[in-house]
């Protein structure tokens, strides 16, 4: 991250350094913002039962289920997963468990 960008993200950024009119030039940087602590319930991937059908990948509102370069889903990105449970309900193979966040 450049010095200028660091300043932008800093909570005490002053008016001389803040971007013009609120424009941001780092598209997609919401990835840096973590929403995982919203969870009260947590999906758990049961890798052995998973048939890689990718239904869970498509229905995730939080882009918290990602796929690798081979097109296979990998484990949850708990930094973003809000624990809505849509993936758990949609999985045809019961390969996702839904448990209390501890």
């Amino acid at each position: 991250m450049s010095k200028r960008e660091e300043k932008i993200y800093s909570p005490d950024v002053g008016w001389k350094d803040i971007t013009h009119g609120g424009t941001i030039t780092t598209a997609g940087n919401a990835e840096l913002f973590l929403t995982g602590d919203w969870r009260s319930m947590k999906p758990v991937w049961l890798k052995d039962k998973c048939k890689q059908c990718l239904m869970c990948y498509y229905v995730c509102p939080d882009t918290a289920i990602l796929i690798d370069e081979n097109g296979k889903r990998i484990d949850f990105n708990y930094n973003h997963c809000k624990g809505c449970g849509i993936c758990y309900k949609v999985c045809p193979f019961k390969a996702i468990d839904f448990v209390n966040e501890i």
Partner: protein, 394 residues
Amino acid sequence: MAIRERLSGNEAVAYAMKQINPDVVAAFPITPSTEIPQYFSAYVANGEVNTEFIPVESEHSAMSACIGAQAAGGRAMTATSANGLALMWEMLYIASGARLPIVMACVNRALSGPINIHNDHSDSMGARDSGWIQLYSESSQEAYDNMLMAHRIAEHPDVLLPVMVCQDGFITSHAIENIELLEDEKVKEFVGEYKPAHYLLNKENPIAIGPLDHFTHYFEHKRQQAEAMRNAKKVILEVADEFYKLTGRKYGYFEEYKTDDAEVCIVVLNSTAGTAKFVVDKMREEGKKVGLVKPRVFRPFPAPEIAGALARFKAVAVMDKADSFNAAGGPLFTEITSAVLAHGATGPKFINYIYGLGGRDVKADDIEFIYNKLLEIAAPGKVDSIYNYIGVRE
């Protein structure tokens, strides 16, 4: 060699737009600015410009489309009046808040209601705190010149604010006057290319514009915007200087007319300044020491400069072609008197005249009456009434 022509204010503005040849013009018809998009559409239809013209379904969409176009990386322009400007209101603030250097021709007309199509300044005066730079024009020539300077001011990296070029509806917009135009190449060279640092259409560096901006950042953005308006003061003079070298026509924050030894002075915007100059000449012949100050730049407001210019008079009348309905005075008056007070000038007595609402004619006699009133006050007399009307039937 400059081109000598005879054009109305609307023709002059449309001609300037043709020479600027912006990427996008989005406009909606409203009297008395309608002719501008009409003329411009004809330029498009005849291939004299290669602008995208968007015949939007409302002024709100005109400004929204200008915002989209300018943010995309293009130069966007529009024209409007009165209720059209009012319908844009929300978007005026968003354009300046997003720091988009859009240029608009505002052909001043009275705001409804009741509905009235004639000239006063209630429309642009209502938008005076929308974050737009406002330039006022006495004549077609000034409207043309201001349009040519507008992009240079708006797009300056220290400014990045939209500009509104105002002229009086019908009085200048529809009156044909002699005008000196610049050659197309000279305009092109003077106005230059628009090269934004960041823009939506830049695939290599996508951006996001218009966030939800909480109390954590909004204030800093507004403070920065306020600074841009301060910066505009310097840029306006630099651009005017360059324009003077190109054309020999001199522009500043305001024009002073026969003020050197004047004892009393009228301050008035736009075309009425022309009538006032006629009255000044006549009264000067009678040996009366009267002068005129005609602001050109209302936003940013040149507070110390105008306070300095007015400090030496004994009495000043500010004429407002818009009322503020505030029981205190018109917008130009309250702005000027607060500047004078804040900058420590205590000499002159100030009075305010609201005039010409809804296109009511203001005659030389009216202005002469005001000058005589000022001379009485300067005599020395006392100010019996600060907030006055002229030309209204009692």
